[in-house]
């Protein structure tokens, strides 16, 4: 896509209008600098000098691209969603609020993960800019899921200690596996590792020897 053009015209306004047509954007999306001021020559024709300007399309902040992307999807899905964005040190968290957003979460957060992956791709499409990371959440689903997984991990670790057999969990994505590993990393008697190939990689909880 074109991002910078130089245009000439009888006046600055005219040059700008021509540039906007060529770039196919609205005026609020661009900024311009004047290279030559227009000059009226003697008798209106000798020494006439047209205006020359350089117009460039302003870069849209990546997080705004992401939010626009989500809004477009929700509009196409015909659901009403309020997006609340919080900027953290190394990522943005977009919390989605609305009625009946279970469909956005899906089984074990599958849909939410897919949507989050696509949102990150859309925001980072322009590879000349530094990557940003966006985490999507629906009504604190991720936090609740994390608590559930921690509880599950501790409960299963107790079982392993009691019976000595290792326990293999159901397949999880890497974020969820990490939650399990982290929850049990300080347990001296317990060893955790992942086994199998994506997308069926599973966490195994076993006794340390």
């Amino acid at each position: 896509m074109l991002t910078v053009v130089e245009k000439t015209g009888k006046s600055i306004e005219e040059a700008l209008a021509a540039a906007l047509t060529e770039l196919n954007v609205n005026e609020d999306r661009v900024e311009y600098e004047v290279i030559d001021m227009p000059k009226k020559g003697f008798l209106g024709f000798i020494g006439n000098k047209p205006a020359k300007i350089k117009v460039s399309v302003k870069k849209v902040p990546q997080i705004d691209i992401a939010i626009k992307f989500l809004e477009d999807i929700f509009a196409a899905m015909k659901i009403v969603v309020a997006i609340e964005t919080v900027k953290n040190v190394d990522d943005y968290v977009c919390d989605l609020h609305g009625e009946d957003l279970g469909i956005l979460i899906g089984k074990h957060g599958q849909t939410l993960d897919a949507l989050q992956y696509l949102t990150n791709l859309a925001a980072n499409k322009d590879m000349s800019e530094a990557k940003i990371r966006i985490t999507l959440d629906v009504e604190n689903y991720r936090k609740r899921r994390q608590e559930t997984l921690c509880r599950l991990a501790n409960h299963l670790a107790d079982k392993v200690k009691r019976f000595g057999d290792k326990i293999v969990l159901e397949p999880m994505n890497r974020h969820e596996r990490k939650i399990i590993h982290t929850a049990l990393q300080d347990d001296r008697r317990i060893l955790t590792y992942s086994d199998g190939e994506e997308p069926y990689r599973k966490v195994v909880i076993a006794l340390k020897r």
């Binding site: 477009d72 999807i73 899905m77 899906g106 897919a114 696509l118 859309a122």
Partner: protein, 75 residues
């Protein structure tokens, strides 16, 4: 369903103007055919189909709400 596939595909490719989605319906099954510029195929499929899978997951979520079955084909 067409709009959702279109919104997502356009956000991922370098050449949004070449994104075309055709929708056909037969026996309650909607088929969305997604066409993109040849150079953009990778952008909508991804490594081992990861992007295509995410795209289908989101479309499937939207379609269950409308009690439809939707298949997304990338051509």
């Amino acid at each position: 369903m067409k709009e959702i596939v279109e919104v997502i595909a356009k956000a991922l490719v370098q050449d949004p103007e070449q994104v075309v989605v055709k929708e056909t319906e037969s026996n309650n099954i909607t088929v969305c055919e997604l066409h993109v510029a040849p150079d953009d195929m990778g952008k909508v499929i991804g490594k081992q189909g990861r992007i295509a899978k995410a795209l289908r997951t989101v479309v499937k979520a939207a379609s269950t709400r409308e009690n439809k079955k939707v298949i997304v084909e990338i051509i």
